[in-house]
Symmetry: C2
Subunit: 444 residues, 2 copies
Amino acid sequence: MAAPLRIALAGLGTVGAGVIRLLGANGALIARRAGRPLAISAVCARDRGKDRGIDLSPFAWEDDMTLLAGRDDVDVVVELVGGADGPALALARRTLGAGKGLVTANKAMVAHHGMELAGVAEAANGGRGVPFLFEAAVAGGIPVIKGLREGAAANSLSRIYGILNGTCNYILSTMEDTGRDFAAVLAEAQALGFAEADPAFDIEGTDAAHKLAILAAIGFDAGIRFDAVEVAGIARIRAADIAQAAALGYVIRLIGLADCEGRDERGRPRLFQRVQPYLVPRDHPLAAVDGPTNAVVAEGDFCGRLLFQGAGAGDGPTASAVVADLIDIARGDPGPPFSIPVAELEPLAPADPGERRNRAYIRFAVADRPGVLAEISAAMRDAGVSIESLIQQGRPEEGGPQAAEVLVAMVTHEGPERAVTHALELLGGSASFTEPPLVMRLLG
Amino acid sequence: MAAPLRIALAGLGTVGAGVIRLLGANGALIARRAGRPLAISAVCARDRGKDRGIDLSPFAWEDDMTLLAGRDDVDVVVELVGGADGPALALARRTLGAGKGLVTANKAMVAHHGMELAGVAEAANGGRGVPFLFEAAVAGGIPVIKGLREGAAANSLSRIYGILNGTCNYILSTMEDTGRDFAAVLAEAQALGFAEADPAFDIEGTDAAHKLAILAAIGFDAGIRFDAVEVAGIARIRAADIAQAAALGYVIRLIGLADCEGRDERGRPRLFQRVQPYLVPRDHPLAAVDGPTNAVVAEGDFCGRLLFQGAGAGDGPTASAVVADLIDIARGDPGPPFSIPVAELEPLAPADPGERRNRAYIRFAVADRPGVLAEISAAMRDAGVSIESLIQQGRPEEGGPQAAEVLVAMVTHEGPERAVTHALELLGGSASFTEPPLVMRLLG
């Protein structure tokens, strides 16, 4: 058997410990499949003394993480430190610059600096390139980057969309199952470990946006444009919205969606990227995705609709994806990180969502007084928004912020998003609203 | 850009024509992603003059298929002729023996001769090996072989199961939606092109068994043992069975399932492989898989439950998988066909299903006369089968083969399959049965 692939592990949190456990449990099987053993040479973490329930004595210890990149006994560095910048980025740059491979689960770093790092990886080793892989950065244990980059490589994709954040999906599907409100379910999710103590990153959609930007780059041969992802979170969704959606035959899911729409002045497609709660028809495969599960759909011109589903987080699944990348590297040269050299990726301009045609769910929280419905209806009419159905909840929502508050929910006929935006502008200053209107699209 | 990967195409049916159309439509995009163009040099089919709606003039034509393997302008032969033996096998052997790569969609050939061909592929080229890939042989456009062989490569899998035949799934889900009987839905499926004129291969489970045997070999690092797949088809399922399953909260799907169970005398795991209609709980992801869609679940010790879903057949999806294999070859050496060299694959002995613990659905079609129920109940008691629920349909099934026929359906508590087999043996010669009992397991 060939010489081992020698690994340095930076970061010994749950995922790092998971990688060590995985290589311990399945090392022989992996060596057979990879054609050679995967062997950890050195590790590094903030606290050397911490009890992680794993034996670190076989591995060299580095106090200074960036020194891992310079070790002679290391072929690939696995970066599991996290954070878009700071030590993780310094290590990544140094590793690739030193001609060593890099495997990371760091979605924030890849979303912000993936293009730069891919460029460094491709230029390394005298231009022959070094591996830079990040399967674990998107959708945990699901091999979706491989699915797009290799499995669907023969296709021109029309659309990529999916459930990319397990915390939000747990909260939304639990709200659906229990009828409880967001705050109560979030607190429970925190207690159960499905949500962080500071949940902002997840529930505001940032985490899903990182993943979407990476998937869109791979699926559309485009440069990563994280800054161009339109993001909305789930914190404003009420139990009443979920009940209303259910009555219409829908469930609410936080969806990341990317497609190409329109053309820029040079004739290149424009890239649309959005993370937002959507109303998903109950017979759609994503409607059945409950709990912390992730799922990604890719629609291609020849393959049709592909669905990849599985655990979106957790030490086991994430370690599984990290080690799959290491096996790929052990087997041979995996090629450019985005399959196309960075210099050839199209810097696609963002699409203007105004012309997108959608059905929309719009929910108003209003003071319970005469004339409010007329005011809303007039704005819709003046903006050219055609209303398909409208429900006014007569009774104040239990536990709602204002006892005298009434919810008005409507679903529009299909029309341009611009019209809905215009209607809300017309209503902008209304003194009748107890909070800004909530707009969600129906997944078509 | 590097030199083209030069391809010979054997077989110009719907998939072959699909490959030519795909390379025409997405050639530029594929060349960028693969790092070099994919170029068809030569083609071969039975009838040169047939109008396929595609222009064959750019390609050399061979009348004798096996000569494709000897052409100097060919790096990889794509075999789309079909059939486990005969011309397809002769071409495959000659191609690999001549040191050229082979890509095939031929599940029957891989299931029957995959080990031999993989051995030839590995020995070719002075022992350096040549590529032999067959993603299109399993589940059409879904990259599930890649998903297992690479995406889940870090895992020890406990179980692989899924919906592997689109024809059966179309028939079963249509029976479910319409309440109609098997024969009527089969006839409609044939008219719509979802079933072949001779449907035996699909509805008897053989096609799904080919695919399962290939998946099991990859997932469990085992030699292919198609002969050891226990197979039952769907032709005996009645509308009443589907209605009964629905009342219990289940749908019926033809499932291919493989796992490792027990040990042989040398301590190696035994391989269990079964294709059979199962009762699938309505909240299971496979229950939502309707129409000709395929879906495969793999359960691993670290990744958890992965689901791959998409179009299981058709020219576009199958061509997508064929070309994905070609892109893999264009990018570099994909390694041994089963990831582990054939000589190292474990020749796993078949498992005895007798000790498997399941809940079972057993449906008896009996003559409507006194004492039948007592006879059945006594046999169950004597064999130690514990009955969870029992439904006797009083009224004869409309259109049933015998007006005086009554259906008795039961669900057992979990117990060893051996006990159910024994009960049916005790009942074996019963003159009360109008047809043999139908046994389906509940997917756990």
